[in-house]
Amino acid sequence: MTEARHEIRLVVNGVPREATVPARRLLSDCLRHDLRLTGTHVGCEHGVCGACTVLLDGEPVRSCLLLAVTADGHEVTTVEGLGTPEAMHPVQQAFRECHGLQCGFCTPGFLTTVAAYLVDNPEPTEDEAREAVSGNLCRCTGYQNIVASVLRAAELSRDTSGQEVGEG
């Protein structure tokens, strides 16, 4: 039996994209394999680790718990859409300044999660910053520098307020 394939259209990081996928293709795999956007990392594939977090219409979601066909017609922002090496997103800048990463595997998920979080909560306390990343696992840092990065990102975002996040 040949598996049925579906044509889908997504706007990824502001760019209209098309793909032809089986219904069981996860959005995470669609981004990585079909669209060759390998910034989104795949850790646990059951929603626990948070590495695959992307923004769907501006809201953070687990891309491993979303079928690509369900996302048809929607806007997706991946870590590639947050900033560039020349013009980093405040969250990327903060993770760099505060050494908020070591091996970097989990980092794309933290960056997308924190970028969206700071839009809704621009002035988190340290406790709130810690809770904001509680759904993302990091096995290197021990989280201290990640929490510092969240707080620094909030400072940087206030300095550059007016910069919108998540609409690619």
């Binding site: 049925a4 979601v61 979303l66 079928l67 066909v69």
Partner: protein, 286 residues
């Protein structure tokens, strides 16, 4: 860690959903937020032949509030219910419990009705439905029925929904005037499945307790509601009274052990958390 193949359809109206569900029968499974179903598909713990994806049925995405109940449609995300101010005003236990459901990122996608249809006895929403004495509105091509919470849960991950049926909405009634509520739980990490948790409601009349009830998470195969009024009836709220209610509750649960907690530890959590939740609830009772 990839789902096995399945046929997929994405109807855009209630009538279409019911027609597809009737057609696919016992091959069919409804996909809403997918935050429990997708992990099961990825791990191949479930392999339905046909997924009926209701994410395009915009009419399902509502939270409606009346004076005495909150009605949540099949596609209302947890985050939507959590933030809805009218819903909080009528049934504040919803927001209090939702803040303990996984993580915000999961709540952006997961649906309240879906978590109830999933019938997980470690789910906060199943406990809230049971404690509020709520109901599930079930739709099928052949007609509609309303199922009381007490009749909806058949066992762990098993509801009394039949093939071809859709949990179309869920109703959470308000508590009586003079009531306060609280939701507390203990989990290894914030957002994990609780080892034990409960929603509690206390009703005060002229400063004395006239009702005290609790709905539990993770200590029974289906949502368990205990009426603890006898331990505190007619008394003013007191630490000793809540401790007695906790003792009463601990004697009425029969939890299972697993790798996260022994049965004895869960029973101890019932004892302690019941007293804590009732005290907090009483503090909010007018």
């Amino acid at each position: 860690m990839k789902p096995s193949p399945f046929a997929w359809s994405a109807p855009t109206s209630l009538d279409e959903v019911l027609a597809v569900l009737a057609q696919v029968g016992d091959d069919g499974k409804v996909l809403a937020g997918g935050q429990s179903l997708l992990p099961m598909l990825n791990m191949r713990l479930a392999a339905p032949a046909h997924l009926v994806d209701i994410n395009r049925v915009a009419e399902f995405g509502y939270v409606r509030t009346t004076d005495d109940a909150v009605v949540v449609g099949a596609l209302a995300r947890h985050a939507h219910v959590e933030r809805d101010e009218p819903a909080y005003a009528v049934q504040p236990l919803l927001r209090r419990a939702l803040q303990l459901v996984a993580h915000p990122v999961i709540r952006n996608r997961g649906t309240t009705v879906g978590s109830i249809a999933h019938a997980d006895p470690s789910g906060e929403m199943t406990a809230v439905l049971a404690l509020t004495g709520g109901s599930v509105q079930v739709a099928a091509a052949a007609g509609r029925r309303t199922v009381a919470a007490a009749d909806f849960f058949a066992g762990p991950l098993e509801s009394t929904l039949a093939y071809g049926e859709l949990a179309e909405s869920v109703t959470f009634p308000a508590f009586p005037p003079g009531s306060g509520s609280a939701f507390v739980e203990v989990a290894r990490r914030h957002g994990d499945y609780a080892m034990c948790g409960l929603g509690a409601v206390v009703t005060l009349t002229d400063g004395v307790v006239t009702a005290a009830r609790a709905g539990y998470v993770s200590v029974s195969p289906t949502p368990l509601v205990l009426d603890l009024t006898e331990a505190v009836r007619g008394a003013e709220p007191s630490t000793a009274g809540w401790a007695a209610a906790g003792e009463l509750a601990a004697g009425q649960v029969d939890p299972e052990p697993d790798i996260h907690a022994t049965a004895d530890y869960r029973r101890q959590l019932v004892r302690v958390l019941t007293a804590r939740a009732l005290a907090e609830a009483a503090g909010r009772a007018a």
